[in-house]
Symmetry: C2
Subunit: 245 residues, 2 copies
């Protein structure tokens, strides 16, 4: 006799978390869309008014974003959109290189059939995005490729870590060159890396990943952002803290 009496409300996921995450996502989205330029000050009352939420929610979201490295806070001064130095970007890519070359080497050593299928499926998706000239989708897929590699290692900590690193990598040209998204990464590189992994050629895979990341950072370094303030109402036009489709 089983006992279905257990009223295990698996995940209520209250409005609390939902609203907080919505505000957090709204600000993050504005940054990813390049609406908020480096140096912009994020005033709590203004955000509260624009996003139609209480100042406390804005405050909480800002603190979280600061802690995750998206924003910079100065005590009693305010919260600002950071101006990432080229050097910092280089450092982040350097760490990524350490991790991701190790990742592809490991995948060469112990990847299984489902992993191979997911890799091939991803490359296929990227190719299709290129054909249909869907730049937005291609940009998303380019990032997800690196996440996918980490996830295929089956290490949750590794995935989370790399996810953070990747968001911080992309933040730089999200903030500085949002209009140049279409150029971001050569999907051809990804296809070659996958091919090397499937061939279990660890040395080649690591080399390809190294070159790929070096190419990305070099491409980013060639571009310097023009400092320019922006109005918050403009930045959050069309972005709401409420659930959007």
């Amino acid at each position: 006799m089983v006992q279905p009496r257990k009223k295990v409300k698996a995940r209520p996921l209250k409005g609390d978390v939902a609203i907080d995450k919505a505000v957090y996502d709204a600000i993050r989205r504005a940054m990813l869309m390049g609406r908020l330029l480096p140096g912009t000050k994020l005033r709590e009352p203004a955000l509260s008014r624009v996003l139609k939420v209480s100042r406390e929610r804005v405050r909480k979201a800002l603190h979280r974003l600061v802690h995750e490295g998206w924003l910079e806070a100065v005590p009693n001064r305010g919260t600002f959109v950071p101006a990432l130095t080229i050097e910092e970007v280089r450092e982040i890519y350097d760490v990524r290189t350490m991790l991701e070359t190790a990742i592809v080497q490991r995948l060469c050593a112990e990847h299984d059939l489902p992993a191979a299928q997911r890799l091939k499926a991803h490359v296929s998706e990227e190719r299709q995005a290129v054909r249909s000239d869907d730049r937005g989708r291609l940009f998303g897929l380019s990032g997800e490729f690196h996440i996918l590699l980490a996830e295929l290692c089956g290490n949750e900590q590794l995935s989370r870590l790399l996810r953070g690193l990747l968001t911080r990598s992309t933040m730089h040209f999200s903030l500085s060159a949002p209009e140049r998204f279409h150029n971001c990464a050569g999907p051809h590189d990804h296809a070659d890396i996958v091919k090397a992994i499937l061939a279990r050629d660890a040395k080649k895979a690591a080399k390809l990943m190294l070159d790929h990341l070096l190419g990305l950072v070099e491409w980013q370094s060639a571009w310097q952002p023009p400092p320019n303030p922006v109005a918050l109402e403009e930045a959050f036009r069309g972005i709401s803290a409420k659930r959007q489709a």
Copy 2:
């Protein structure tokens, strides 16, 4: 009403940040000292009373600790000391292996004279700690060794990342086996690694680091913590949110 107070020109660095950091440090210290066993619920009113600060400060510190992975929060339930699975510990050490083998390889390739001197000095310090049988100091030095390697790479991002990883690694046996600190790491391993780095033998250095970390995780895996609740007043005996000597 006027306030003829003299204006402070320097950095007052108000109680805000100081108090917040003090509360944060107090809880972290209690965890590192093994006073808070896995599964313990950290009640905000109790902490507020014990640490003599307002509940909001406790709340803020708890949120930060949750963000950094020290604690786990369940909405509307409370904040808990996590029970790290052996598997999670393995994953963390796996990531550390990826990073640290890359680090020693890089140091073999491009370390300079001051770096070599710092390495030798550190090994010397560890040796001296062993001789004087100072277990507490040796424990600290063992952790700092890995931090030192990261810092010698000159990559700030890398240092911060590894620092977080290391604290999370040590948290496991801080929580589960605080009385076995003295056994933590063989300083002999560190000396061998340094020797390989100074000899610029990248392959050997990487192998030694790999074995070192594998040995650590294996040693930790052999020990399982006994679940046991604890009173907060006991845990924070002698630990204050105020600056202590």
